[in-house]
Subunit: 269 residues, 2 copies
Amino acid sequence: MEHNSAIGVFDSGVGGLTVVREIMRQLPNENVVYFGDTARVPYGSKSKQTVLKYSRQIIRFLMTKNVKAIVVACNTASALALPELRPEISVPIIGVVRPGAKMAVSLTETKNIGVIGTEATVKSGIYTRYIRELTKEVTVVSKACPLFVPLVEEGLLEDRITDDMVDRYLSEMKAYNVDSLVLGCTHYPLITNAIKRYMGENVKLINPAYETTKELKNMMREEGILNQDSAPAVYEFYASDGADKFTTFADRVLPMHVDKVNIVDIESY
Amino acid sequence: MEHNSAIGVFDSGVGGLTVVREIMRQLPNENVVYFGDTARVPYGSKSKQTVLKYSRQIIRFLMTKNVKAIVVACNTASALALPELRPEISVPIIGVVRPGAKMAVSLTETKNIGVIGTEATVKSGIYTRYIRELTKEVTVVSKACPLFVPLVEEGLLEDRITDDMVDRYLSEMKAYNVDSLVLGCTHYPLITNAIKRYMGENVKLINPAYETTKELKNMMREEGILNQDSAPAVYEFYASDGADKFTTFADRVLPMHVDKVNIVDIESY
């Protein structure tokens, strides 16, 4: 492994590209290998055992690419698998949950923090645990929003139906006077407008991708593994199924066009 | 393999239990082994190559259970994989697409047939092809309805939001004066009421599970493999992930309680 080895980033699908976007912004020197498990997406309704198994396969794949650090850019995998994965691997690994939790604590004034995510993330209770490790003086209101991912994937970003679902899922958040809300799933930042319209301007929406990349940068600096090369960064994209959807989504999220997505038989890892 | 060997039934998830229900009704003597690929659900947004690979793994698993016939109780797998699977295996195999297509042709008077299903099923064009093999004198209007599955899984069976989506997805069906509509995904029969309300009483809704089981019975009679035993039928349920959701759905669909779901490591087949 070298300083110019890539950072490995993975997600259950394409949502984790929002983290790649942040790496491009905050760490423009770094090479990235991204893997999206598009064949087995979504993880949010799966068991811990399955998500752990899938994450291990992906990490084995990323290690063949000689990555120097790994970002679990998937809230569900961060919530369900990261604690068990960490001692198993030899490179630094970071998830999106802890940075999101930290940000929420630092921003709240009403001491009421909201967390929305997939069924699995919310059921795991991990955001609440991390937040309460930082401070006992907050109330955490969490809510699973299983229809948000399919609504985003159907492209209904600005739509009456999405507004209607936001209204239903988030009514408790209003009732509890939440003033900082963690978007605990990488798809949710794409419906920020709808969420903001419902929650109001005074509620801070936290996109963990930004904070995670900031922590990644600190961690890499401490470990002494930042890339010192001035060569243009190289980005490689891998997925377990169909490239078409991947590039369509990537074009919406990334500041560059992805012209090649390599398909990987992830079950063989 | 014996006359009292089980019929193997599989689906991407739990939707195929609607076919098991029909087998219980129409073939009460027959033993059934059901496999639901709950770890890798949904298939509807995946590529042909992936669906074919998953179907082959499942068939290898079912063959270890010594099944005498296989029902592909998943529209997507029937559409994308069945033609290639048929020559590879030694027992009779039947899918849900052809029986549904036949029924639609026999029921239409306006000669305008509608087909709704997942993205993959609709994109494959297989319903249209089967229907046009039966008659050239019909127009087929097909439409992918990707939000119906998550809406059903979220339990919004009688809900304004579901009605709203039905309205959007099916407006073309009305415009084309469709009088027979194939529910080309095993989840859709659960929102029959919402679809009927929108389409009106004169439009016949076709649930391929019923017709498929009728054909299965004929096929088994012809092959001489109907079970002659009078012992009570045995039903075994297998899934690739979490048993909880499986039993909840099963309780809604089946006339019996499923008290044991066996978890299978399907990737090892």
